[in-house]
């Protein structure tokens, strides 16, 4: 596994910079790799008709993850900078707005916590309206209206169109 990094280590202002956050990714890989290895160590021998032991693949995957973690850390230390993902709506020049991401994450956490009780129709409407608001929409009533319409349409669409009964939650019997 030869890793010849080609990304330029020179920042726009001409100085060399390091992407310190990339050590975090290396750490993540290390943790995942170790978890895979520990899990593999806990497995017992397979059946007689299993020529490939159940722990064989995990050992390889875990070991390579640890190795990659090390290689990434070295590459980062030597000034490797990732080329961040670009896109139509992505403006990489204005920095990262992590506050918005955290708020969206919170919206999803609320969805996860309440979906069993409230059901898709309510939670879906909340998900749409709250995400739109976090992303900068300022027309609350319209957002809630669209969200409600979407979640009801999808609920009925799945129920009658696809024959998939999504649990109705608290609205059971109403829908």
């Amino acid at each position: 596994m030869t890793t010849t990094e080609t990304t330029t280590p020179v920042a726009p202002d001409g100085t060399t910079r390091k992407d310190v956050a990339q050590y975090g990714l290396a750490g993540f890989l290390l943790v995942v790799g170790i978890v895979v290895l520990i899990d593999a160590a806990g497995l017992s021998d397979g059946f007689a008709d299993q020529p490939v032991q159940p722990y064989a693949f995990p050992y390889v995957v875990g070991a390579v993850l640890v190795l990659l973690s090390g290689l990434l850390a070295v590459a980062t230390w030597r000034g490797d900078v990732p080329e961040e993902d670009d896109g139509e709506d992505v403006d990489l020049t204005q920095g990262s707005d992590w506050a918005t991401v955290i708020k969206l994450g919170l919206v999803l956490v609320i969805v996860i916590a309440t979906i069993d009780f409230l059901g898709w129709a309510i939670v879906g409407a909340f998900l749409f309206a709250a995400s739109a608001r976090v992303l900068g929409s300022r027309t609350l009533i319209l957002d809630v209206g669209i969200g409600t319409a979407l979640s009801l349409l999808t609920w009925y669409g799945f129920y009658s169109g696809l024959g998939i009964p999504i649990p109705a939650g608290v609205l059971d019997g109403v829908l």
Partner: protein, 503 residues
Amino acid sequence: MDLLLEGFATALTPENLMYAVIGVLLGTAVGVLPGIGPAMTVALLLPVTFSVPPTSGLILFAGIYYGGMYGGSTTSILLNTPGESSSVVTALEGNKMAKSGRAAQALATAAVGSFVAGTIGTLLIVLLAPNIADVVVKLGAPSYFAIMALALFTVTAVLGSSKIRGFIALFIGLAIGLVGTTTGQQRMTFGSPQLADGIDVVVVAVAVFAIGEALWVAAHLRSKPLDVIPVGQPWMSRDDWGRSWKPWLRGTAFGFPFGALPAGGAEVPTFLSYITERRLTKHPEEFGKGAIEGVAGPEAANNASAAGTLVPLLAIGLPTTATAAVILVAMQNYGLQPGPQFMDAQPKLVWGLLASLFIANTLLLVLNLPLAPVWAKLLQIRRPYLYAGILFFASLGAYSVNFQAFDLALLLGIGMLGLAMRRFAIPVLPLIVGVILGPRLEEQLTQALSISQGDVSTLWSEPVAVVVYIVMAILLVGSVVMSRRTTPPAPTRTEDASMDVNA
């Protein structure tokens, strides 16, 4: 030939025709829309596999695939910020054409070129796939193992600019693929009953594509939307036709083989097509200012390569693009296992699907030429609604798999991973392919070693396997030499950037 005619009979039933129309319209729409591509769309639509019959479902997905390729070019011509790396090259000349008032011609040559390339490409699938399947069916587990390893290797190390990042993506994917009890013991389940069946590929795909992308865009949303160049009805003059038809054919010739190889990808053939046209053109002065050849060739290459990727998918069961990977998941949801026996076991489905590809291509041409102004309007959709909608449908898609809040938690967790991958330029495709092919790789290895009773030398006992390993070695050496050579002038072209998320 009879089989294909029967296929048309299957594909032309009113119901299937309706799915084809929905597919191409939806595909084009999501291809045009920023932040969402065909792979994500097919991933979000996977719940339909629960109730729509397999043939109709796959016709729908194939329509989305072809439509998405088409829609991507509209965006890159009218916006100049291609979302799909396969249309980066199209933007080079296409956007210049649009800016100098020739948007209609750029869209027209892209549309007709896509039609020509897609039709020739589909014809080649019809000719090649059954023959390849006949050859592949004779191969044993060692050869399968080798071919799968080759696919994983090329997707990881040959495509994309950074090998270490490709391997990081692949091994995270393989680690996710370990979760479950396929070997009879609980692996990586941490005692959780919800993880005992493994992590659903649907959840992984939706999380990495949709949630990861939506969160990443949310962190970097443009404060001011991009200018969309207004466009009327696409058309071409006689002169434009004369300058376009050769690039279409040459582009097809570049695109199809690259798509059909396990190496896959549209980046290389579109770029090759572009430099070829620049070299052969009679109007070199127009290149860089909006030369129609520079749109016609790469667009044809792009679509021909999309068609080409269906050959390994149908004949061997190997996905080489993200969309092909998700379509493979859809087939597995139906209990279908694409591969050499697939064409013989499911002739009605396979030939219906192939016939529908011809229909999808024609529909794209007929529908999209008049609809171009509508697609251009779609680019002005309010961004909060677009991304809130993506989060909404992603959650719905993941929830509808098992109706478990747990799946939504996984969705968020893996979505965060998808966000981090975009931040650190880790390509998405190797991860998805790793999740899908990892368990199958283990299965083939087990099968090969069971037959040989544990003798490892069986792995290189078949000539095809040996050839595949040699090809891998050549690719490895070649890519190392290439990257050594290109090291001094660091790559500045964007198509070297992280691998395509939406293709």
